[in-house]
């Protein structure tokens, strides 16, 4: 049963992710992204990480994609004409794809990642309390750093997009 569900959700995620890239319509792309996120949330549920699944739907599917759609509609973005490929883009993308495939293949065949025995791994994501404890003890610093990075990104967007011509004190 859960194998079947895994394959269904995985298919949904991959198909929708491809839809995001290949759709010419920006709104359709955003909706494919939404479905893809719902699929990932389904995969989390299969892993018993209920909190993560719910948070993914609440934050990303519920708010972030809605903001994407809001921006797409507000700016009335159309697909427009795509630039034709030049020789340099073809060359560089081939090299990049080759590197990616080589990396993945070598990682899969010669990877030295130690995988712990699934029976001994402590499950921390399933109960709310265990999850919160990990978040506020072991992973406190990474969470703060990620939050700080997001803040910097937001400040950067404000500085780059806003014109400060009339304001003397900002310069």
């Amino acid at each position: 049963m859960s194998d079947l569900l895994f394959h269904l959700f995985a298919l949904l995620v991959v198909a929708c992710a491809l839809g995001v890239v290949f759709n010419k319509n920006a709104v359709a792309s955003a909706l494919c992204f939404l479905l893809s996120l719902v699929g990932v949330a389904g995969l989390f549920v299969l892993l018993d990480a209920f909190l993560l699944a719910v948070l993914l739907v609440l934050v990303y599917a519920g708010a972030v994609v809605a903001l994407f759609l809001f921006i797409i509609m507000l700016l009335d973005m159309q697909g427009g004409d795509r630039k034709r490929f030049t020789k340099s883009t073809i060359l560089s993308s081939t090299v990049a794809a080759g590197l990616l495939v080589t990396g993945l293949v070598s990682f899969a065949t010669h990877g030295l990642v130690e995988t712990a025995d699934p029976a001994t791994v402590k499950i921390v994501g399933s109960s709310l309390r265990a999850y919160a404890e990990q978040l506020f003890t072991v992973y406190l610093l990474p969470v703060q750093i990620v939050g700080f990075l997001l803040l910097i990104a937001m400040l950067g967007v404000i500085v780059l997009s806003k014109k400060f011509e009339g304001l003397e004190d900002v310069k």
Binding site: V27, L31, L34, F50, L51, V54, L55, V57, L58, A61, G62, A63, A66, L67, L69, F70, M73, L74, S127, L128, R129, A132
Partner: protein, 396 residues
């Protein structure tokens, strides 16, 4: 008595339970539309729909026979019950044209997308409780999960897509404006809504506990013995309840926050181009959101299925069982609990309508100012004050 039911396969049982809940919620949401018309009529000093009566002959004969019962028939007619049936018939059989200029796939997808979150949020809402054989209180709910409230918020937040899609797919100006307004408004008020319920869970999750976001546990913590154990959270956390209620109005697009449809400036807003059955789906979804939202409010702040503050359901059942022993059976007890809960929800549905026909609509900039500059700071301040207060109380 119900052994045969529990012997059925789990999947079939869940399917049956889900169908029953949807079959109860759908007509309840439809009945809300009639309640809205009657209440608006009473508030405005007119009788409202009170004439419709089905004929005794023809294919409506069963309804006609009910209508011809002397006192009951007239009463039902006065309350507009047959008008509701006529409306339902009209929406089902009316021609449903799709305008030529719309984006057909998304135009048809939007009303369907509105029903899915509206009917699936109810899965996480417990609507009653009963004593099992071991004398433990068991919730009546489709899914009793640890992340209860977050799951409701997560699924409920998907409801905005139907409005955005409807506005965008209609491919005309006014629906489009409605869709854009909906996306901005719903995100803005979601923040205050989520922040306003945090004090409740800070209090419920006392140090040393297992940690939970389940709505059943919130009700349980309001039905403890003693003065503070039996107090409803609306009394100890009035600001939270107030913010939650305002945000609920905005999240369900009810007046004075019905910016996405706002008839005065947007014709009909996101559903201008819709008609017949698709239009009625939007409305049933809106009422279903209202019912579920009122239910969440009752569970969080009004003691859920406890009849009165300081009087828990268990006490009531024990007291009643002295007079009527059959009350203590699981079925009766669950029915009483669901009845009390639905009574509270019904009052809030009335409150929603009362406000709608009393207050004028905000301007859009006022909605945004209220959400970001007043409600959000207030909810953050409320959270900090309660966090400090609860930390002080629980460490003493």
């Amino acid at each position: 008595m119900f052994d045969f039911y529990f012997e059925l396969p789990l999947l079939l049982r869940l399917l049956l339970q889900g169908t029953v809940v949807i079959l109860a919620l759908f007509p309840l949401a439809a009945a809300c539309s009639m309640a809205e018309r009657k209440i608006s009529a009473w508030i405005q000093g007119r009788p409202g729909p009170n004439r419709t009566k089905p004929p005794i002959a023809g294919f409506l004969a069963p309804l006609g026979l009910v209508a011809s019962i002397p006192v009951l028939g007239t009463l039902l007619q006065k309350f507009g019950i047959f008008q509701l049936a006529a409306d339902g018939g009209k929406f089902t059989f009316k021609e449903d044209p799709v305008p030529g200029h719309v984006n057909k796939f998304y135009f048809i997808l939007a009303p369907i997308a509105s029903m899915i979150p509206a009917l699936s949020t109810v899965a996480f809402v417990p609507f009653g409780a009963y004593f099992n054989a071991a004398d433990e209180l068991v919730p009546v709910a489709l899914a009793h999960v640890d992340v209860g409230l977050l799951a409701v918020f997560a699924l409920g937040s998907l409801g905005v897509y139907s409005l955005i899609l409807a506005g965008w797919a209609s491919n005309s100006k006014y629906p489009f404006l409605g869709g854009v307004r909906a996306s901005a408004q719903l995100i803005s008020y979601e923040l205050s809504m989520t922040l306003s319920v945090l004090p409740v869970f800070l209090w419920v999750n006392a140090p040393g506990g297992q940690g939970t976001l389940s709505l059943f546990d919130v009700v349980q913590s309001q039905s403890q013995p003693g003065f503070w154990g039996g107090t409803w959270y609306v009394m100890t956390m009035p600001v939270s309840a107030f913010i939650f209620l305002i945000a609920l109005f905005a999240e369900t697009n009810r007046q004075p926050f019905d910016m996405p449809e706002s008839e005065a400036d947007l014709v009909g807003g996101f559903h201008t181009e819709y008609g017949a059955f698709k239009w009625s789906l939007f409305f049933v979804a809106e009422y279903a959101h209202m019912i579920v939202g009122s239910g969440i409010f009752c569970l969080l702040f009004l003691g859920g299925w406890n009849p009165l503050p300081w009087v828990s359901l268990a006490d009531t059942i024990h007291a009643l069982a002295h007079i009527l022993p059959c009350v203590a059976t699981p079925l009766f007890m669950a029915l009483i609990a669901i009845g009390i809960f639905l009574g509270k929800v019904g009052f809030f549905i009335f409150f929603f309508m009362w406000v709608r026909w009393t207050l004028p609509r905000f301007r859009y900039d006022q909605v945004m100012t209220l959400g970001w500059k007043k409600l959000l700071p207030l909810s953050i301040a409320n959270l900090i004050v309660y966090a400090l207060g609860i930390a002080w109380l629980q460490t003493r």
